[in-house]
C-alpha cells in the first residue's frame, strides 16, 4: 500500500487520537506545573469612627480579588513547578516514614492510601482471576456439548454487566439488612456490619473484581483448550501420564502464552480500578489512584475543581502504567519482527 493511500485511510483515526488523547495528555503534563487562582490585589482602606476631637481613623491593608470587566474574579495560571506534586506526595513525611516512623502515618495521606489499595488490589486479584478462569475453562471443556452453551451464557453475565451496577448488586446483598449479611449473622451468631470498616469493604471489592473478570479469563482459556494438540495428549496417555500430569506437562504449557496475555490485560485494567469505589461508596475507607484524580475533578460545595492536583495525580498514576506496559510492548516488538522480518 502506498504511503499516500495509507495516510488517507488512517487519517481520521489518527486525527481523533491526536486531538482527544495526545493533546490532552500534553496539556495535563503542563497543567500539573501551574495553579490557576484568582488574582489578589492589595487594597488600602481607611476606616474612621467618630471621636473627639478628631475621628479615629485606622488604615488597613487587605487583599481583595481583582474583579474583571465581566464582573467575575480575574483568574490567572501561576507557574508553581513541582509544588503540586509536593502537596500530593509530601516528601518529608515519606522520608520520615522510611527513616523508621512507620507506614501508619504515611497511609493517612490520600495519595499513599490510594497507592496502597491500588497495588494490593491489582496483585491479589491476579492469581484468583487466572485460577478461577482456568478452573471454569477445564470444567466446561469436560462436560457434554449440550450444556456448554447455557453455561457460557450465564458465565458471561458478570463480565458484560455495567461495572458500577455489578458492584452495586453485590453491595445490596451485604448492605445493612442485605440477605447475605443476615445469613452470615445467623451463621456466626453475631452482629456484622460489612460497610463499617475498611477491610470488609476491601474484601467485597476484591470479590467483585474476581467475579467480574474471571469470565473473561475463562473464555480465553476455553478457546485455547480447543486448540490443544490431541496427538500430544494421546502420546502422554500412551506414556502412562495421569490426568494431573497431562494437565501439568501438556495443557498448561500450551496455554502459557494465553495466561501471560490475560495477566497483562488484567494488570492493566485492575490498576485503573475506579468503578468499585463508586459502586461500594467506599471513599471514606478505601480509595484508588484513579478515584483520587476523579475526586479532584469534581467540584464539591464551594470548593472548585482542582485541575492542577488532578493533573499531578494523573501523571503519578501513569508511572505504574508504564511499568506494566513494558513487557506488553516487548512482546509486540518480537511479534512484529517475526511477521515482517526486519522491516
Amino acid at each position: 500500500m502506498k504511503r499516500g493511500t495509507f495516510l488517507l485511510f488512517v487519517g481520521p483515526s489518527l486525527a481523533m487520537m491526536l486531538i482527544f488523547i495526545a493533546i490532552p495528555l500534553a496539556s495535563v503534563f503542563v497543567q500539573s506545573f501551574y495553579v490557576t487562582q484568582p488574582v489578589y490585589r492589595q487594597v488600602e482602606t481607611e476606616r474612621c469612627t467618630p471621636g473627639f476631637p478628631n475621628p479615629i481613623c485606622t488604615k488597613e491593608v487587605r487583599s481583595a480579588p481583582e474583579i474583571g470587566a465581566d464582573g467575575r474574579p480575574v483568574r490567572r495560571a501561576v507557574f508553581v513547578g513541582l509544588d503540586t506534586y509536593r502537596t500530593l506526595i509530601e516528601p518529608e513525611k515519606l522520608a520520615a516514614a522510611l527513616a523508621g516512623a512507620g507506614l501508619g502515618s504515611l497511609l493517612k495521606i490520600d495519595f499513599y492510601k490510594a497507592l496502597r489499595f491500588t497495588l494490593t488490589f491489582t496483585l491479589i486479584t491476579l492469581p484468583f482471576v487466572i485460577g478461577l478462569g482456568l478452573a471454569i475453562a477445564l470444567a466446561v471443556d469436560s462436560i457434554v456439548q449440550a450444556l456448554r452453551g447455557p453455561v457460557i451464557f450465564v458465565s458471561l453475565l458478570p463480565f458484560i454487566i455495567t461495572p458500577v451496577i455489578g458492584a452495586l448488586s453485590i453491595r445490596w446483598l451485604f448492605v445493612g439488612d442485605g440477605i447475605l449479611t443476615r445469613a452470615l449473622e445467623a451463621l456466626l451468631e453475631r452482629d456484622i456490619a460489612m460497610f463499617a470498616q475498611g477491610w470488609t469493604i476491601e474484601l467485597l471489592m476484591l470479590f467483585y473484581r474476581v467475579w467480574h473478570v474471571a469470565p473473561f479469563a475463562f473464555v480465553i482459556f476455553y478457546a485455547g483448550l480447543q486448540t490443544v494438540n490431541q496427538d500430544a495428549v494421546d502420546a502422554a496417555i500412551v506414556d502412562g501420564a495421569s490426568r494431573l500430569q497431562r494437565l501439568r506437562y501438556v495443557v498448561l504449557p500450551h496455554l502459557a502464552p494465553l495466561i501471560v496475555f490475560v495477566a497483562l490485560i488484567h494488570l492493566m485494567d485492575a490498576y485503573r480500578v475506579f468503578d468499585e469505589v463508586i459502586g461500594f461508596s467506599s471513599e471514606a475507607h478505601v480509595i484508588s489512584l484513579q478515584w483520587l484524580t476523579f475526586h479532584f475533578l469534581v467540584p464539591e460545595g464551594s470548593a472548585e475543581r482542582s485541575i492542577s492536583r488532578a493533573s499531578a495525580s494523573a501523571l503519578l498514576t501513569m508511572v505504574g502504567i508504564v511499568v506494566i506496559l513494558v513487557p506488553l510492548l516487548r512482546r509486540n516488538w518480537r511479534e512484529h519482527r517475526r511477521r515482517w522480518g526486519r522491516a
Binding site: 488512517v10 488523547i21 453475565l157 458484560i160 510492548l329
Partner: protein
C-alpha cells in the same frame, strides 16, 4: 454406544461429580446477585429487605398490600415462555435463511433472534395483560376455580414507575441511546478504515501507530478527562476567535451562531468516547482483518478496483462479523462508562449509569433503595438481551486478540 476412549481413561464418577458440583457453584455465584436484584425490584421494601429469603421470592407483604400474580397468571407466564422457546427454535433458522441466505451463519442467526425477540416482547406486552385479566375474571366467576384467581406471588411495578416516570429516568435513557448510537457508528467507520490500512501495511509507521495506540489504550480515563475539562468548560471563549475569522467564521456561523460550550454536550461526549475507544477498536479490527487473505483485495485490484473500492466492495462484506463484534464492544464501553460521562455531562444531559448515583446516594429510606435497585435492573436488561443474541460474537471478540498470540 461407541466408546471413543477406553474405560480406564475416562474420568471417574467422583471426578465428574466434582466437576459438575464446581460448575453448579460457579453458576449460582455468577447469577445470584443479578437474579436477586431482579426479585427485589418487584417487591415492597418490607419484603425486599426481609431476613427470610422466601419472603423476598414470594413477597407476602407485597401481595397483601398491592396484590400480585395469581396461579392463573403464573400458568399463562409458563405457557408463554414455552411458546417463546419453541418459536425461537422454529423461527430463528427460517428467518436467518431469509435474512442472510444461510441459516448457519452466526450473524444471520443474531439478526433473526433480535427480530423474534422484539416481536415477541411487543406481543407479550400487548397480549399478556389482556389475557391475564380475561382468565382471572373467568376463574373468579366460577365457584370451584376461585383459588386460581387468588394472588400467590406478590409483585408491584411501582418502583419502576417511580424511576421512569416520576424521576424522569427516560431522559437519561434517551441520552444513553444518543451517546451509544453515536459512538458505535463513528467508532466503526473511522476504525475499519484505519485498521484495514494497518493490517495491509508492513511499514515502520504502521507498527509505531499500533504501539502508540497500545500505550493509549492503557491510559486511565481520568488522565484524559483532566485534560478535557478546562478547555470544555471554556470552549465558548476559546473558540470565539475561530468564529470571528473572516471566511472560516462565516461557515461556522452557518452551523451555530455562537461557539458551543462543550461541557454537557452529548455530541462532544461521543467524540471523546470514540477517541478513547479508538486504540482498542483498531487493534481488535486489525486482528480480524489479518484473517482475511491479502489475495482477496489483490484480486479485486486486478479487476480494476482502487484501494477504497476493494475495501468497500470486497473486504467489508466478508468482514461483517468482525465489524459487528467490534461494534458490540464499542457499545459496551459507551453504555457502561461512568467516569467520563459523570465528569463531562451535566444533570440534564446525563446518561443512565452516572444518573443512578442520584438514587443510591439518596438511599435514606428503604423505598429509595428499592428504586435504585429498579433503576439498576433497568440498565442491566438491555445487556442481558445483548448476551442472549450476540453470545458467539462476544466470545469471538474476546478471543480475537488472544488466541493467535
Amino acid at each position: 454406544v461407541i466408546q471413543t476412549q477406553p474405560e480406564a481413561l475416562r474420568p471417574s464418577a467422583a471426578l465428574r461429580a466434582g466437576v459438575l458440583a464446581f460448575l453448579a457453584v460457579w453458576l449460582v455465584v455468577a447469577a445470584f446477585p443479578l437474579v436477586w436484584i431482579l426479585l427485589m425490584s418487584f417487591k415492597l421494601p418490607l419484603d425486599a429487605l426481609a431476613a427470610n429469603p422466601l419472603h423476598v421470592v414470594f413477597g407476602p407483604a407485597t401481595r397483601a398490600a398491592r396484590g400480585g400474580a395469581s396461579a392463573a397468571d403464573l400458568a399463562i407466564g409458563l405457557v408463554a415462555i414455552a411458546i417463546a422457546i419453541r418459536a425461537m427454535r422454529l423461527l430463528v433458522p427460517r428467518l436467518a435463511r431469509v435474512v442472510s441466505g444461510d441459516e448457519t451463519a452466526p450473524l444471520g442467526r443474531s439478526a433473526a433472534m433480535l427480530i423474534v425477540i422484539a416481536i415477541g416482547l411487543a406481543l407479550a406486552i400487548v397480549a399478556l395483560p389482556v389475557l391475564s385479566r380475561l382468565v382471572n375474571t373467568a376463574a373468579s366467576a366460577i365457584p370451584g376455580l376461585r383459588w386460581l384467581a387468588e394472588p400467590v406471588l406478590g409483585l408491584t411495578l411501582e418502583h419502576y414507575r417511580a424511576v421512569w416516570v416520576t424521576h424522569g429516568f427516560h431522559r437519561n435513557f434517551v441520552n444513553s441511546l444518543i451517546v451509544t448510537a453515536g459512538v458505535v457508528t463513528v467508532s466503526l467507520s473511522v476504525g475499519t478504515l484505519a485498521a484495514y490500512a494497518l493490517s495491509r501495511s508492513a511499514s515502520r509507521l504502521a507498527f509505531w501507530i499500533l504501539i502508540v495506540a497500545l500505550i493509549f489504550r492503557a491510559l486511565p480515563h481520568s488522565v484524559l478527562v483532566a485534560g478535557y475539562l478546562p478547555p470544555f468548560l471554556e470552549s465558548h471563549a476559546l473558540l470565539m476567535p475561530l468564529w470571528q475569522t473572516p471566511v472560516v467564521g462565516d461557515v461556522l456561523r452557518l452551523v451555530a451562531a455562537e461557539p458551543p460550550t462543550l461541557y454537557g454536550q452529548p455530541l462532544a461526549i461521543i467524540l471523546v468516547l470514540v477517541s478513547i475507544n479508538q486504540p482498542f477498536t483498531i487493534w481488535m479490527l486489525r486482528s480480524f482483518f489479518d484473517t482475511v487473505p491479502t489475495e482477496l483485495d489483490e484480486a479485486a485490484r486486478v479487476d480494476g478496483c482502487g484501494h477504497f473500492g476493494a475495501f468497500r466492495r470486497v473486504i467489508v462484506p466478508v468482514m461483517w462479523p468482525g465489524v459487528i463484534t467490534t461494534g458490540l464492544f464499542s457499545f459496551l464501553l459507551a453504555y457502561n462508562d461512568y467516569l467520563v460521562c459523570a465528569l463531562l455531562l451535566d444533570a440534564q444531559s446525563q446518561t443512565m449509569v452516572p444518573a443512578i448515583t442520584q438514587f443510591f446516594n439518596r438511599e435514606t429510606t428503604s423505598t429509595d433503595q428499592i428504586e435504585a435497585i429498579a433503576a439498576a435492573v433497568s440498565i442491566t436488561a438491555p445487556l442481558f438481551v445483548l448476551v442472549m443474541v450476540f453470545q458467539r460474537q462476544i466470545v469471538a471478540g474476546l478471543t480475537a486478540g488472544a488466541v493467535k498470540g
